[in-house]
């Protein structure tokens, strides 16, 4: 246990956390700390260890090594196992499957945890009514889980989790079972609830739009490791690795492999940038945002012949994807753009690359 006073301790502090299943490392030396009231989003591809990390935060699994502390109190450690079991953590978990108890009505699902926590009947009833109203599901109180829709089940699951007023809220892909429209609705609902409860939230998703819109802090996970941890805007602006750069952002950023030729970095035969930006590297990867790539030749800028593959209109602009050999490049044009797949088009690089990475994927400091 640390000696820090609770007032300034991080709400959640994860130190050098490891989780192994046999020889397989699912969570690999993770370090993350967020202050009280933060909305931490864990993103990453399927199987990268997000749920495993969340379950350790919940106290359902014990870490193999490392430590987790809430407000300065150690709750799990590799040496002590689960120090504080789930009910002592003052944390609530919303399961991906919702995990509603099928034999209890909506109201009972919400009040049972309060009963377990020994709330009085009057307090329970009042709180149940309060959270039902907060989530707009008061009309469903006497239904059974099997009698309500998926979106409604999800609201009940959230209501059940926030009812005991946990100081830490954990969400495991709570929106992944919903259709697109409901997902956007629930996203703002969740934000509202987060603000209303003032809890510190940890939210697992592999949807990067969710990550970008909801988070105060984002941790991008890849094969059990944290690729980058920071504010969403920082991750977008200054991706630390090519993995982060290509995982976040819509449309996806373009990465082009280049080699040094004299004072220039060339892609194929095309000089793209001054070799100085790559330091003394002989080969590198350059990051170009979609908005930095235009369609059609532009005087004084490098351009490249490509084959049109698809176009998607976005907010008055069109996102155009074209192939150069095996490399997929995405650019933007104003207005609408039409072409047949296979048509030849010209891509121009409107600005200098946004970032430079080693061939191994590490960002080169400028």
């Amino acid at each position: 246990m640390t000696a820090q006073p609770a007032g300034i301790a991080d709400a959640i502090k994860i130190t050098d956390l490891v989780k192994q299943f046999g020889a397989f490392t699912a969570v690999d030396h993770v370090d993350i700390a967020v202050p009280k009231g933060a909305f931490l989003v864990l993103v990453g591809p399927s199987g990268c260890g997000k749920s495993t990390l969340l379950r350790m935060l919940a106290g359902l699994d014990e870490p193999s090594a490392g430590e987790i502390s809430f407000l300065g109190n150690t709750v799990s450690s590799g040496t002590g196992g689960v120090v504080a079991d789930p009910r002592q953590r003052n944390a609530g978990l919303v399961f991906q499957s919702y995990a509603l108890w099928p034999h209890m009505t909506v109201a009972n699902n919400i009040s049972w945890p309060l009963k377990v926590a020994k709330w009085s009947k009057a307090d329970r009833d009042a709180r149940v009514n309060e959270v039902l109203a907060l989530l707009g599901i008061s009309a469903l109180r006497d239904r059974y889980p099997a009698e309500i829709s998926g979106g409604q089940q999800q609201r009940v699951a959230i209501a059940r989790t926030i009812a005991p007023k946990p100081s830490i809220l954990l969400f495991d892909e709570p929106l992944s079972n919903l259709d697109a429209k409901l997902r956007i609705e629930m996203r703002s609902e969740l934000m509202r609830i987060h603000r209303a409860t003032g809890a510190t939230s940890v939210y697992v998703t592999h949807d990067q739009v969710e990550a970008m819109t909801m988070a105060t802090h984002v941790a991008v996970l890849n094969i059990g490791r944290v690729e980058q941890f920071g504010a969403p805007i920082d991750l977008l602006r200054e991706p630390a690795t090519t993995f982060v750069a290509t995982f976040l952002g819509t449309p996806p950023a373009n990465l082009l492999p280049v080699v040094r030729r004299g004072a220039e970095l060339i892609y194929g035969d095309l000089p793209l940038a001054d070799a100085a930006i790559a330091g003394n590297l002989d080969s590198a990867q350059l990051l170009f945002r979609a908005q930095d790539i235009g369609i059609g030749r532009v005087e004084g800028r490098p351009s490249l012949a490509a084959t049109f593959s698809e176009a998607a209109p976005i907010a008055g602009q069109t996102m155009v994807t074209a192939m150069v050999g095996d490399v997929r490049i995405t650019g933007m044009v104003d207005g609408y753009f039409h072409a047949m797949p296979g048509d030849p088009i010209e891509l121009s690089f409107l600005r200098d690359p946004d970032a430079v990475f080693t061939t191994g994927g590490e960002r080169v400091a400028r």
Partner: protein
């Protein structure tokens, strides 16, 4: 298109196949299921019948005819249901929700006892525990100096034990299925709420599986009250009567009406409990667990209890499957029932008659009656399996394709009715209907045909069930696309439905076959002296004290059933493979 109106042609085809077939089916099922029941009711409303009601329910005889058998039957029913819930529930909990070693092995072991017919278990019990009170040779324990008190050798207690040993695996199967639907998430969310283990068990797990517990209790109850073999073998020698043995006795001794009255009462007892349980379950909300990604189940750590509980489960499984089979096998080889493991001889299997042994009777494979019975049994099994599967498929097809219509509802209700009727009472109803000539038709009593018809009718629920699951593999689209080509119903059935369904059908047919081969309670009333079946011959030998012969024949039945089950398993896994690819 020709000038001939196509609507007319298709209209008449529609009429023929779409309306008439279901009507024929309804008529058929009505004759098979309803007519015997109506007839048995009517038979008890004649002057003789009314006298029988009075004799059974309100006369000096009724103590022996009705009240005592009823008490015994209910004790057996409730005792077996509780015992099965306890054992089956314990094993299901162990296998599904704990970290016991080798859960898969235990799971298989726990489903096996149901494969062994209850009369096999009863015979094995007798071979071990029989005492010399009733004369005849004593059982293994007594001969070896361990005195067996009467209550453990005969009557209620051994009957109860044998029936629990037979039915607990049914309870296990139902409860285990329910428990494995309780996802880890449900339990973990209760953990997150701060509930401790007992609270989770009583607050979450138990309520969720309650419908399954009720179902298991009611099915094992119904099984126990209608069982004939165990009380007949272990209870009758000491005059312990249940409703089914009483009913058998009445019909055997020619008091048909009294038998019919008892049959109706037995149906009432068994069906009312099933009905009650159904009401309780459907009165509650259907707890369909709302599952998401991954069907993980939570396994609790048993700690120091891991191996002791494992050992207990293995002991239970072995004691109710392997031990009885071994006892039967040893007994069929041992000339003295007290010395199960010495002087083994094949005399009871293949010995020539005329010697000292077995009062000069030849071994079962040299006994023409037995060879006859073997063929009859197989013939019966095959015929019934064939007829029920065809009927079951036709019924299932009509029910599935006309889902929601009155017709389909009536059909499925009718087809499932035999499930509520104990087979011995069903047999009694058939005797009531076909025991006397109907119009120009001669009496069918005692004929092979009657046995086949009754058995086919009684197996209808299973046949429809497997027909439905088979048809689940043939989607309506597939058939409708054939319909668009203009193929007739019969042709669609032959060319599309049948080939797709054949494997599943065979598997279903084998199940019916197995049920028939080892059935005693239906054949005991309907079999005929001219065409005996194996189980009946075994029962006869057992009641006459020729235990080795009875045991040998029982073993033969087991082998036939086992072989058939293996074939069914192989077929099922082939089907599985085909569905996966």
């Amino acid at each position: 298109m020709t000038s001939k109106s196509p609507t007319l042609a298709s209209g008449s085809r529609l009429f023929r196949s779409e309306t008439v077939t279901p009507l024929i089916l309804i008529a058929l099922v009505a004759v098979l299921v309803i007519a015997p029941l109506v007839k048995i009711v009517l038979a008890t409303l004649t002057p003789d019948g009314l006298a029988a009601w009075q004799a059974v329910l309100a006369s000096p005889l009724s103590q022996n005819l009705w009240w005592k058998p009823l008490a015994n039957t209910l004790i057996l029913g409730f005792g077996v249901a509780s015992g099965c819930l306890l054992l089956g529930g314990f094993l299901a909990w162990l296998v599904i929700l704990t970290d016991v070693p080798a859960p898969r092995f235990l799971g298989v072991l726990s489903t096996l006892p149901f494969m062994i017919p209850s009369f096999a278990a009863a015979l094995a019990w007798g071979t071990l525990f029989r005492n010399s009170r009733l004369g005849g040779s004593a059982g293994f324990f007594e001969v070896n100096g361990i005195a067996i008190p009467d209550w453990l050798a005969w009557g209620l207690v051994p009957t109860l034990i044998v029936l629990v040993a037979h039915y607990y695996s049914l309870a296990y199967t139902i409860i285990a299925a329910a428990l494995s639907s309780v996802g880890a998430d449900l339990i973990e969310s209760a953990q997150m709420a701060g509930a401790k283990r007992p609270r989770i068990f009583f607050g979450i797990i138990l309520p969720v599986v309650t419908p399954a517990l009720i179902a298991a209790a009611s099915l094992t109850f119904a099984g126990a009250v209608s069982n004939f073999a165990a009380p007949a073998l272990l209870g009758l020698p000491v005059r312990m009567q249940t409703l089914s043995t009483r009913l058998f006795g009445m019909i055997e001794t020619g008091s048909g009406e009294r038998g019919f009255v008892l049959a109706l009462l037995l149906i009432g007892v068994s069906a009312s409990f099933l009905f009650l349980a159904d009401r309780v379950v459907s009165g509650r909300k259907a707890f369909i667990t709302v599952t998401g990604k991954g069907g993980r189940t939570k396994r609790f750590a048993l700690g120091a209890w891991r191996w002791p509980l494992f050992a207990l489960a293995v002991l239970l499984g072995v004691g109710t499957t392997i031990v009885p089979v071994l006892v039967l096998a040893a007994s069929s080889l041992a000339p003295q029932s007290g010395a199960l493991f010495s002087n083994w001889t094949l005399h009871f299997w293949i010995g020539e008659g005329g010697g000292q042994m077995a009062q000069g009777q030849a071994g079962i494979f040299r006994n023409p009656v037995l060879i006859d019975a073997l063929w009859n049994t197989i013939k019966l099994g095959l015929t019934v399996a064939g007829i029920t599967m065809v009927l079951g498929l036709a019924l299932a097809h009509t029910i599935v394709r006309r889902k929601g219509t009155l017709l389909a509802n009536v059909l499925s209700q009718l087809a499932f009715m035999p499930l509520l009727i104990p087979s011995i009472a069903f047999a009694a109803a058939y005797i009531a209907l076909f025991g006397a000539p109907i119009g120009p038709f001669p009496s069918l009593y005692g004929t092979f045909a009657l046995l086949v018809i009754a058995a086919a009718a009684h197996n209808l629920p299973y046949a429809v069930q497997s027909g439905r699951s088979v048809l689940g593999q043939v989607s309506a689209d597939i058939e409708e696309s054939a319909k668009l080509t203009g193929a007739s119903a019969v042709r669609r059935m032959l060319v599309i439905v049948f080939p797709l369904a054949i494997r599943g059908l065979l598997a279903g047919a084998i199940l019916v076959f197995v049920k028939m081969v080892r059935d005693l309670s239906l054949v005991v009333l309907l079999f005929s002296a001219t065409s005996p079946v194996l189980s009946m011959v075994a029962y006869r030998y057992a009641s006459e004290g020729f235990m080795q012969f009875a045991n040998a024949i029982t073993l033969l039945i087991l082998v036939i059933c086992l072989a058939a089950s293996l074939v069914a398993q192989a077929l099922q896994s082939r089907v599985q493979k085909w569905k996966q690819s």
